[in-house]
């Protein structure tokens, strides 16, 4: 026998509650990858003062970032509910490939800006996949800012640490915002 119908407004409230819980179970730990990458970006900021190592930093920083993510997500997710992991992996690999190709084809003064433009777009895509439209808009705006600054600044090498710090702060702040959302929901 079917159960009696629930009034529509109550039903919508109940559905919203169920969806909040599921969203939290699926995406409540999204702050972790942003926290890891904000540390990687901070490393890029400090490496920029060591001119010989700045370019090589990413060779170490990116694998460390992936290792950090692996450690940060180990045993934290409820494996009974989730999102497909391949779109995140494809985007992550895409960011790496585009930046690697850019480092071979672009001159040094363009690479120092292009790396941040690509990271901004990549993180916007990751946030979009993660159904965090505000974070996606923030990273897209950050990417655009990096592009505009790159096009209007003569000495782009001086821009590199500035962009590294902006990305560190914005990524850390977004991570904190998501952490707060997860704790308060």
């Amino acid at each position: 026998m079917e159960e009696p119908l629930t009034p529509s407004s109550e039903l919508l409230e109940e559905l919203a509650r169920i969806q909040r819980k599921t969203k939290l179970d699926v995406r409540g730990e999204s702050w972790r990858y942003l926290a890891v990458w904000s540390v990687v970006f901070l490393g890029a900021f400090f490496s920029s003062f060591l001119s010989d190592l700045a370019g090589w930093y990413w060779v170490i920083g990116v694998p460390l970032g992936y290792l950090g993510m692996y450690l940060a997500y180990r045993n934290v997710n409820d494996d009974r509910v989730g999102a497909k992991s391949w779109p995140y992996a494809v985007t992550g690999i895409g960011i790496g490939i585009v930046n690697m190709v850019a480092s071979f084809v672009l001159p040094d003064e363009a690479i120092v800006v292009a790396v941040w433009v690509v990271l901004g777009v990549g993180f916007a895509v990751l946030s979009w996949i993660d159904r965090q439209p505000l974070a996606a808009a923030l990273f897209a705006a950050l990417s655009l800012l990096a592009l505009l600054l790159g096009l209007t600044t003569e000495d782009t090498f001086q821009l590199y640490p500035v962009l590294a710090m902006i990305f560190t702060l914005i990524t850390a702040a977004t991570s904190f915002g998501l952490w707060l959302w997860a704790r308060r929901s």
Binding site: L11, L12, L15, T22, V81
Partner: protein
């Protein structure tokens, strides 16, 4: 103009089936046990509702094994996600109309 109540899908409108689709809308895959826990349903009850939704092509059900343990994974089909959105829109419109008349 069609009255929003005509857009309500009778299969989806049942509270538990609506709950199942609402959970699936937020995730790419959901385990049978998770659905049971969140919606506070018995095994039999949940199976029955899932069968109805599967027959209508609104969800897909995969049975797998994790070691020796059987596992049932449920996912909303594209049709299921679309149907849920349309249904919720119709419900909201209906509530708004009734709200206006009460004034």
């Amino acid at each position: 103009m069609t009255h929003p109540s005509r857009s309500l899908d009778e299969v989806i409108h049942q509270k538990n089936r609506l709950g199942i689709l609402a959970v699936l809308a937020e995730a790419d895959f959901v385990d049978f046990g998770y659905l049971k826990e969140v919606l506070d349903l018995t095994d039999g009850n949940l199976s029955r509702h899932l069968s109805v939704l599967e027959e209508q092509g609104l969800v897909s059900i995969k049975k797998t094994f994790e070691g020796r343990k059987p596992r049932t994974i449920v996912d909303a089909t594209r049709r299921g996600r679309k149907a849920l959105n349309e249904h919720l829109r119709a419900m909201q419109e209906l509530i708004n109309r009734v709200g206006v008349k009460e004034k």
